[in-house]
């Protein structure tokens, strides 16, 4: 099983979720993160002094999927989260050794 982790722009979250639904993903976990990268944060002004905010708000998506589905999930995210502008984010894929559904104790792909 794989865990696909994507760092995306917050306003793309709904589109991505819909696209993932279309390829068969039924669950995912989302968290708020701050990104640092090529895309620079906006400038803020405080009583006459201007200063740069280094971090940009991003959303992190974690989706555990069956190996077979992993590529389609990566593709779906890439296609929907893309705006062609810097800061669109990254996708990372990890190997999951073991998965359990807490409610039932099911493991492996059944746990998803």
């Amino acid at each position: 099983m794989k865990l696909v982790v994507a760092i995306i722009k917050p306003f793309k979250l709904e589109d991505v979720r819909t696209a993932l639904g279309a390829v068969g993903v039924e669950g995912l976990t989302v968290s708020e993160v701050k990104g640092y990268g090529r895309q620079k944060g906006q400038t803020e002004v405080y009583r006459g002094a201007e200063y740069a905010v280094s971090y940009v708000p991003k959303v992190k998506l974690e989706v555990a999927v069956d190996d077979a589905l992993a590529d389609r999930v990566v593709e779906a995210i890439r296609d929907t989260a893309n705006t062609g502008r810097i800061g669109d984010g990254k996708i990372f894929v990890f190997d999951v050794e073991h998965a359990v559904r807490i409610r039932t104790g099911e493991t492996g792909t059944d746990a998803l």
Partner: protein
Amino acid sequence: MVQMGRGACLRAAAGAMALLLPADAMAQAAPAATLNGANTAWVLTATALVLFMTLPGLALFYGGLVRAKNVLSVLMHCFAIACLASVLWLAVAYSLAFGQGGSMNAWIGGLGKAFLAGVGTASLTTGDIPEDVFFMFQMTFAIITPALIVGAYPERMRFAPVLLISGLWLLLVYAPVCHWVWGGGWLAGMGVLDFAGGLVVHATAGVSAIVIAKLLGSRQGFPNELRPPHSPSMTMIGAAMLWVGWYGFNAGSALAANGNAGMAMIVTHTSAAAASLTWMTIEWIKFGKPSLIGIVTGMVAGLATITPASGFVGPAGGLVYGVVAGAACYWAVSYVKHSLKIDDSLDVFAVHGVGGILGILMVSAFADPSLGGLGLAKDMTMGKQFGVQLVGTVATVAWSVVVTFIIVKAVNAVVPLRATGEAETDGLDLSEHGERGYNY
């Protein structure tokens, strides 16, 4: 002659009292004075408005400007200072400010009214309102003035010295200057014009703030790694409450419900609006982005600046005051931060000190009928009045600097002012008060 507001009223009252009678016989001894219920109703209201300026107004204004880990400490400073100042005011400070000082009366009131001795519910003073109402109204000024100074030292001063400094400062700086100007002291005698506290409130607090900030040292990372205000909305809420409460501060200082109070309200409001728009415009031109923190800072500048003049100038004067206040204080903020490199963290000097002094000096011009004012003091010309205002300013500034310096050094010898580096990193909320601001 123009109606002179609190200063004049008090001088008259104080004079009468000195000549005629022991304090506890006061009510009978002023047979002409009868209670004016309407004026009393308005001053009672104004008292509530001015308390509202500190609690929660100023506390929120300041609390929003610091980082999230220090928000409670700032609210705590304002709240505890309010309590402490109230008790001290009742105990001795009112008497020092407004009591009879006998042979020392030019400099300080006596202790004759400590714990309101001799002041009953029937005592009238300062025209036609009960003295207990006047006492309460003045108490709210004694509360907000030391609380203004909180903006100089947040995010790094320990709590015990906050209280010690504030208490001593009230007794040694505020009470005397208040007596000089409003309590029948030497500045009152010279005819200084300070309607609602340019010298007494804003200059004393602003000047003392920068002294404390200098002695205490800057926050970690100042000025390069400053963080933006953690909650501009909280600051805006506080600012709005300050605006509303300032109606009581300035229009209440007329001590009457009449057209003078109305005009004081108008010029107060106008100066606030004009200064806000001025600050906003400067930011807009300079950065392309007018900010909420900016516009409300302009508002405070406008209000502080008009305060001493609010009973003396006309609507056009109010507009000019606002524009000058917005521009001058904007400039002063940068000057203190970037040229003097003093971490007067929430800009108390740049806004209140500069604003208050500016307002005091400008009043000699704008009170003049030729500039739409309601008139200078009796027998005054613009020039002569300016001289008086200047003397008042120099004396107030000098006294505030010297005495604050001594207080800070003395307190620091007893309790170190500064929180440890780790406490500063963790935030004062946890390290000093055992609480966190946001448990969402």
